[in-house]
Symmetry: C2
Subunit: 137 residues, 2 copies
């Protein structure tokens, strides 16, 4: 092992031991590699916001996206119970947050058959979608 | 090493070898630990959206937040150059995406002196902020 690899290896092992693998590793790697990742965050407003069944279908659809190989991290969420403040928009039904290595990775995702199937299967469930694509600076 | 730890250890080593540490590690750990993390995503619209100086000040302020100990991952971004689509909002000037372990971690961040200093130093720069807090499901 060359020196840098060994250092990373040891750091990774320590992080796992400490039970904080994602975090320490993510922060370290982002900073040391100075990698400009892309965050793709999509918010969905259901046509029937009170339908637990429709929400479950949408969440299942979102989970199917996990198999797309260029997705580096995926969070599927619902509004969190943080302190209410006027600047917080918690009116959406569900959200999907994906991290890609670069623009090309996001393009592969957009065109991927699994993503196209998700849209075909689930788009009747929502009546509004807002997307934010942010590139690391 | 017990079996699960060893499996994680090996997987981690493989991920590092493949040069995809953040991603593989994040996905694996999120899935195996079934951890419900919180994504806190904030979008800022500058009062002077064409001022590179104001953008630089805001980005510097956002970078100062990195020291807050409950932040598990931090992406500071600007609108990405993805394909233009009507659902994409790229009108903001800068964004901050943070991952916390839980609601308590986000509360520590909100009340933290470094965060309060950021608001005091930088809030004159923006005229709109939108926040989305999403809890993993």
């Amino acid at each position: 092992m060359e020196k840098q690899t060994r250092r990373k290896f040891i750091a990774s092992t320590l992080a796992l031991t400490a039970g904080a693998a994602v975090s320490a590793q993510s922060l370290m790697t982002m900073e040391t590699q100075n990698k400009k990742q892309l965050a793709h965050h999509v918010f969905f407003w259901l046509k029937n916001p009170n339908s637990k069944e429709d929400l479950a279908k949408l969440l299942d659809g979102l989970r199917s996206l996990r198999k797309i190989e260029t997705i580096r991290a995926l969070h599927i969420g619902v509004p969190a119970d943080t302190e209410k403040r006027p600047v917080i928009d918690s009116s959406y039904s569900a959200s999907e947050l994906m991290i890609f290595d670069d623009l090309a990775g996001e393009k592969v995702y957009q065109d991927h058959p699994i993503h196209q199937k998700f849209i075909a299967d689930c788009s009747h469930l929502w009546d509004k979608v807002v997307v934010y694509d942010s590139m690391d600076v």
